[in-house]
């Protein structure tokens, strides 16, 4: 097989796709978390500040989802086809969540009536929670594997997606995003709201640690094969260590008021979690527990070598550009939120 810098093109694309997914989880993760905790903020002004903290960036963050979809479609079309037709129902719910999040942000500020704003606040909060939960649910099922027939198409009932493991992962995802979002908002606010958010960030960190501990315990007890790779490659145990240190650093940084470091730590937590999932799943994209021969791997699920090469070129040109202007936008809107006439 042909390689680039000593690594297969298929593996390269797996890494790129994983990178994009991590980028999406880190970037949109804080938007989703900030939205999911929206109703914890009681005052009108607090809610406005929270919305404007993500206002200029959430749209750019959502682009990473679009890129991830394109990356999967282009590089691993068989997996793209199998995943989205299998997860038809949860994915439609997820998409509805995205629509409602977008329009709630957009429409909320347009009218002064209290009922209008309350309605959009609730719809906004619920949409974010649903997005986070359905993402987690799908991630859990991908990690677990879904039954496939020999044409790599899903054969089973979508009700089976609601298994205990995936539900635990869904809750963990929500908790993780809420922690991440609270830290982001704390970074962007001042005075009493800031104090409130540091307290919320602490609470959500506890919520996350607990749900993560339970899911880990469940995995070790009931789905031991999900730690096979870690057992056979002890050097990768560095990943859980990094993650533990990152999580432990969050309360410490929050206490010192060093929010950038706290935010960095929660970003690292998200990234290492996804890397561990990817590491355990590899080289499968979707494992088929009914007959492992039907599984979709990075080889049988991939596009042609030629396409993978083209894609890698596109990624090599595109990624620095995207990082450049994402960085520029974040830099433009750095610092604490100030409400002005263009605000939501």
């Amino acid at each position: 097989m042909e390689t680039f810098l000593g690594i297969d093109y298929n593996v390269w694309w797996f890494l790129v796709f994983g990178g994009v997914i991590s980028g999406y989880a880190i970037l949109d993760g804080f938007d989703l978390g900030a939205g999911a905790l929206h109703l914890f903020l009681n005052k009108e002004e607090s809610r406005r500040i929270a919305l404007n903290a993500i206002g200029p960036v959430w749209d750019g963050n959502e682009v990473w989802l679009v890129i991830a979809g394109g990356a999967l479609f282009a590089g691993f079309p068989v997996a793209y086809a199998a995943i989205f037709s299998a997860f038809y129902v949860p994915f439609m719910v997820f998409l509805m969540g995205l629509i409602f999040r977008a329009i709630s942000i957009e429409f909320r500020s347009k009218e002064p009536m209290q009922w209008w704003r309350k309605t959009w606040d609730i719809s906004y909060c619920i949409a974010n929670i649903i997005i986070a939960l359905s993402l987690g649910l799908m991630l859990g099922n991908v990690a677990l594997g879904i039954p496939l027939n020999k044409d790599h198409e899903f054969e089973g009932n979508w009700m089976s997606f609601f298994n205990p493991f995936s539900i635990l992962i869904a809750i963990t995802t929500l908790a993780l995003f809420m922690m991440h979002g609270a830290i982001y908002l704390a970074m962007k606010t001042v005075n009493r709201l800031y104090v409130k958010l540091t307290l919320l960030a602490r609470d959500f960190t506890i919520f996350f640690v607990l749900s993560f501990a339970v899911s880990t315990l469940y995995t070790l007890l009931y789905i031991p094969h999900l730690s096979d790779h870690l057992r056979t490659h002890p050097s990768f145990f560095i990943l859980p260590i990094i993650m533990t240190l990152a999580i432990a650093n969050i309360p410490r940084s929050l206490k010192n008021g060093n929010f950038r470091f706290a935010f960095l730590s929660s970003s690292i937590t998200i990234a290492t979690l996804l890397i561990m999932v990817a590491f355990e799943v590899f080289p499968y994209l979707i494992y088929a527990p009914n007959d492992p021969a039907n599984s979709i791997t990075i080889v049988n699920g991939a596009s042609s070598l030629k396409t993978l090469k083209i894609l890698l070129i596109i990624a090599l040109i595109g990624t620095p550009l995207v990082c450049l202007y994402t960085g520029f936008v974040f830099w433009t809107f750095k610092g604490k939120v100030k409400l002005d006439e263009m605000s939501y």
């Binding site: 394109g70 989205f84 002064p112 595109g318």
Partner: protein, 479 residues
């Protein structure tokens, strides 16, 4: 309850012959048609914003600033709904058309990935600066952001039209595997990108999109002119949009012709359907309007005899390949619908040219803004490019049937086998409800913004926020 539901779905699907294929097609058509209301406005408005802001930077005239900021607010609204409905599209291939996705992923996927990373990221990245950056960045940087957003929207159209054109005129690929395993693999990336129809169709789409933006600006400003409101701003804005509309509606004549010419070379069955032409041995007519009887295979209406023959062969009497030259299962069946969509599009295209030229004529005579009847036409003219764009796409996509990839993969073979009719029906109902709500909210807010007018840098959001504080905070006294 569950039984009643499944009973309902059973009766529904049986009685209305709603199988997976027809439901999936309805769902795709519905979601894409709804989505396509918005991105063309973004493209067209993007161009107009670039012009307005450039004029502001050049002259420093306050009117251009107010104009720019007013249309920025409308742009934000349109863009927001475009994004929300666009994300659905990217995943609908996987959810509803899994076999298709596997078949074309190698090719279609790379165009879509390029769209995401080169176009959409550019657009959405700079959008934040465009909408929230007016007081934060220098005017030069803001102008740069406006240009980037406009370019992003143009690039976006490139990749999407390339992907669609590849389905119409596949090139730069070979087929690997047989039966269910078969799929198209890329052999030449640039041949895929520049497949025989992509350039001419891209131009056609771009111009159609710019017209959608231009006529929206014309419509809103015509309304202000009728109401004698904000005339200081409405009149120059109207003139800017009128110039854009005139230039591009006339150029559409050329690009539209190029497109039709391409169809005659690449997709003769579609061309025959566009003009309801069945008999291959006869010369082909061109209709101004008419009616096709799908059963008797007759077309009646007002026509230019031999017009289509002339278009194809530059000879009024040359025979043109008709629908009967194709096997029953290799040509589109809904010929009358295709015919009507195509002719509505052409008629609207001509009407847009006539309307903008007429307005230019009165402008030159200096009486344009006294012609109230003309302004009333302009208020409604916003529908013309919208309807034309939709009809054009319906003609193009229905004319491609029964193929999803022309000559290679049938629509009926492209479905997701893991998805049932009930699931699609459920999501279709969900989309219908949510999109109706979206459209209602969009029109409501657009109306509010138009009512609010351009004569302030204050957003109505801000007023809404002040009103909120006043009403709900008795301790705060406003002086």
């Amino acid at each position: 309850m569950k039984r009643a539901c499944s009973r309902f779905f059973y009766v529904y699907t049986k009685y209305f012959f709603m199988d997976v294929e027809i439901l999936a097609r309805i769902q795709f058509a519905f979601t894409i048609a709804f989505h396509y209301i918005y991105p063309p406005i973004s493209i067209g408005l993007g161009l107009i914003l670039v012009i307005m802001e450039a004029l502001y930077l050049k002259t420093g005239d306050k009117r251009f600033e107010l104009m720019t900021r007013f249309w920025l607010r409308i742009f934000a609204l349109v863009f927001g709904i475009g994004v929300a409905t666009g994300i659905i599209m990217e995943f609908e291939f996987g959810t509803n058309w899994a076999t298709y996705s596997k078949y074309v992923g190698d090719i279609f996927g790379s165009a879509l990935a390029a769209e995401g990373i080169f176009a959409f990221a550019l657009e959405s990245g700079f959008l934040g600066i465009l909408l929230f950056g007016w007081n934060r960045v220098s005017s030069g940087v803001h102008f740069f952001a406006t240009i980037m957003v406009f370019l992003g929207s143009l690039f976006s159209a490139i990749w999407i039209v390339v992907a669609n054109s590849w389905q119409q005129t596949p090139a730069g690929f070979h087929i690997v595997g047989n039966g269910l395993e078969a799929r198209a693999e890329i052999t030449d990336f640039w041949a895929m990108v520049f497949n025989p129809s992509s350039v001419e169709r891209l131009m056609h789409v771009w111009v159609g999109a710019i017209l959608a933006g231009a006529f929206l600006v014309l419509s809103v400003n015509a309304w202000y002119i009728i109401k004698k409101k904000y005339l200081e701003i409405a009149i120059p804005a109207f003139k800017i949009a009128l110039v854009v509309a005139t230039v591009f509606s006339i150029s559409q004549l050329f690009f539209g012709h190029k497109s039709a010419d391409g169809v005659s070379r690449n997709q003769p069955a579609k061309l025959a359907a566009l003009e309801g032409h069945y008999d291959s041995s006869a010369r082909a007519d061109m209709y101004l309007f008419g009616w096709v009887n799908n059963k008797t295979q007759e077309t009646k209406g007002i026509k230019i005899p031999g017009g289509l023959s002339f278009l194809v062969h530059y000879d009024f009497n040359a025979p043109v390949k008709g629908l009967n030259a194709f096997k029953e299962n290799e040509r589109p069946t809904q010929v009358n619908s295709i015919f009507q969509f195509y002719h509505i599009m052409v008629a609207l295209g001509v009407a847009m040219i006539a309307l903008s030229l007429l307005a230019c004529w009165y402008w030159r005579k200096g009486t344009l803004f006294d012609k109230k009847w003309l302004m009333y036409i302009f208020v409604w003219s916003v529908m013309m490019p919208q309807v034309a764009n939709q009809c054009g796409w319906f003609a193009a996509e229905m004319g491609r049937q029964p193929w999803v990839v022309y000559g290679l993969l049938r629509t009926s073979d492209a479905l997701s086998k893991a998805v049932s009719a009930n699931q699609i029906l459920f999501s279709l109902i969900m989309f219908t409800v949510v999109y109706t709500l979206l459209l209602a909210l969009f029109l409501f807010l657009l109306h509010r913004k138009i009512q609010h007018g351009p004569e302030t840098t204050h957003d109505e959001d801000d007023e809404a926020n002040e009103a909120f504080t006043k009403r709900n905070n008795p301790l705060i006294t406003h002086s």
